[in-house]
Point group: C5
């Protein structure tokens, strides 16, 4: 029986992260069915994810967004994150937030690389959460990061 995985993304983002996440997941397993749902902006993601969970039956969902550089954008990202948090608590399902802030990268090229790499590594996390929780437990407290390099453990 296949498990449904939701992928919610936006037209606001400057990189198509969803395609990378979908490809990564499909390369790792054929036990899932992916349902994609594109909305205009970041603040439309929480209810989109909740609908993927409650109306489409997704077991886990990824929320892919790209906050802009302005203060206003940071507030939007915060509101979207609070909504994703609440959506998880209302459904008892994980929503993996994959937000890439425009100002994390020094230029468009790095932004494209970062967004795709982070989407890929979080898609791997989704796989482990569904099929191999022991793998995550073995890596607990090891300073793992998605996108840029891992920082490692405090005593490294």
């Amino acid at each position: 029986m296949t498990i449904k995985v939701g992928i919610a993304d936006t037209t606001f983002a400057m990189v198509d992260m969803a395609s990378v996440a979908i490809k990564t997941l499909n390369n790792m397993t054929d036990k899932i069915k992916i349902i994609r749902y594109t909305v205009p902006g970041m603040k439309d993601l929480p209810v989109a994810c909740k609908k993927l969970i409650e109306e489409e039956g997704c077991e886990i969902t990824m929320a892919l967004g790209m906050p802009g550089k302005m203060d206003k954008d940071k507030v939007c990202a915060h509101e979207a994150s609070q909504g994703l948090m609440m959506a998880q608590l209302m459904t008892n399902k994980h929503i993996i937030e994959v937000f890439v802030h425009e100002d994390e990268a020094k230029d468009g090229k790095e932004l494209d690389w970062l967004a795709k790499r982070r989407a890929e590594e979080h898609a791997e996390n989704v796989y482990y959460m569904l099929f191999n929780q022991k793998y995550l437990q073995k890596r607990a407290g090891q300073g793992l990061r998605q996108g840029f390099e891992d920082v490692g453990s405090a005593l490294k």
Copy 2:
């Protein structure tokens, strides 16, 4: 069968965005019925939208507001946004937030243009969300904006 679309707006805003949104939607389709609900301020919008959804049967709602320039106004906008987020999660219906900050424009004339253009482009989004989700998916990750120009993709 017509689909009900809610439009909530305020007497606080300095531009009548609702009329533009209503005109845009009516020009795009005759399969919807629009229900308008005007309240005093931005913070009255969340429950107004929830009432449009739950008491009037709206499938999707637009929340049109215009935060002022002061710090106090920014906090109000944040609270209103949190309320709109929560209203969506409680109803599993989208509420498209169309907020135009007074200080986004350099003068009254630009503010009027910006508010109307953003309302128009978000009304188009409402149309696509209801009738053509594939259109949005094809434009995922393309850096679309409502009001000012699109920023385009990171690799443009």
Copy 3:
């Protein structure tokens, strides 16, 4: 049949706004019955309003508060506003927030005037929300303010 209107206020505020709101409403209509509930501070207002709605049957409620000047007070006001937002969403009833920040006025005399004028104008809004929503709709987007002067429309 009379409609019940709730008025929640505080001993913390430096002006008795409730009496003004009650007088304004009673002058406009005899179709309402007002229930007043005084609590110590601003953060006691949300549950007070929810009790007025759910235990006393109020159709709409006014929450009258006066945040102090300190940073701490601003945070309290934000928390109270979030609570009022949530109370509305849990009950599908409007709560009109009438907060007057102590530092909006240059001295005690202006503060007294501002608080009473804002309470009066918001009481009028309550009347229109209950009995004449068309009046509000006709004034949508006109830059109305409560207390200080209206700012008018962007193209004025």
Copy 4:
């Protein structure tokens, strides 16, 4: 029939405010039964209060906490306050928040005095909320404070 009053406090605080609140309440009335619940920190107070209300049957609850001086502590206090707000809205019962910020006082001696005085005055508020709401209404808008001196009305 006795009314149950909950008192939640912390081992984090530097003053035993609960004993003062309990003594004050017991001196004012013998119609209540107090249930005390001590938790480690401020952020444990909201669910503690909710349990006092829902599992112990308390009609009203006091939440006694003492945020530290650091930015991190201010954020904790904000989160705890938001939780107390939500707990009230979920139960339709008042929770009187008695927070004393460590940096409100100039030294340990004043902090001890302030915390005890504020706990005492808020315990009096609890009494009036339970048994004499008219007393609070008569003092509406009079600029009352708990701990430091009342500021009085704007026109004083």
Copy 5:
């Protein structure tokens, strides 16, 4: 009959706090059964804890996380804390938040020490909350801290 205790931790953290918490609890009592659940990041903790409570039957849960140094990380920690607060209120169960901010320590070695010590002391709190609430009550208002030294009472 054993009581189930949940331990939720992350691969993001730079120290394995969960092992310390588990060891501490097992040394104090054999009346509990610990269920560990490792997720990628801090913002995955709230729903993880809620699942431990509602799906695994945990009576109390520890949420172990380590916010990074950047502003963005502080916002994440705030969102995670709000989620943990809400999860507690939705379940009426305590979740003991054990967050160690990377910038609380001067270097990796101190960070490792601090994280382990705080996890240990909070595990002790979990024990007292489950089996000896009187012990906590006796220590109310004594300025206890987890990790660094206790600050003591205001009048010390």
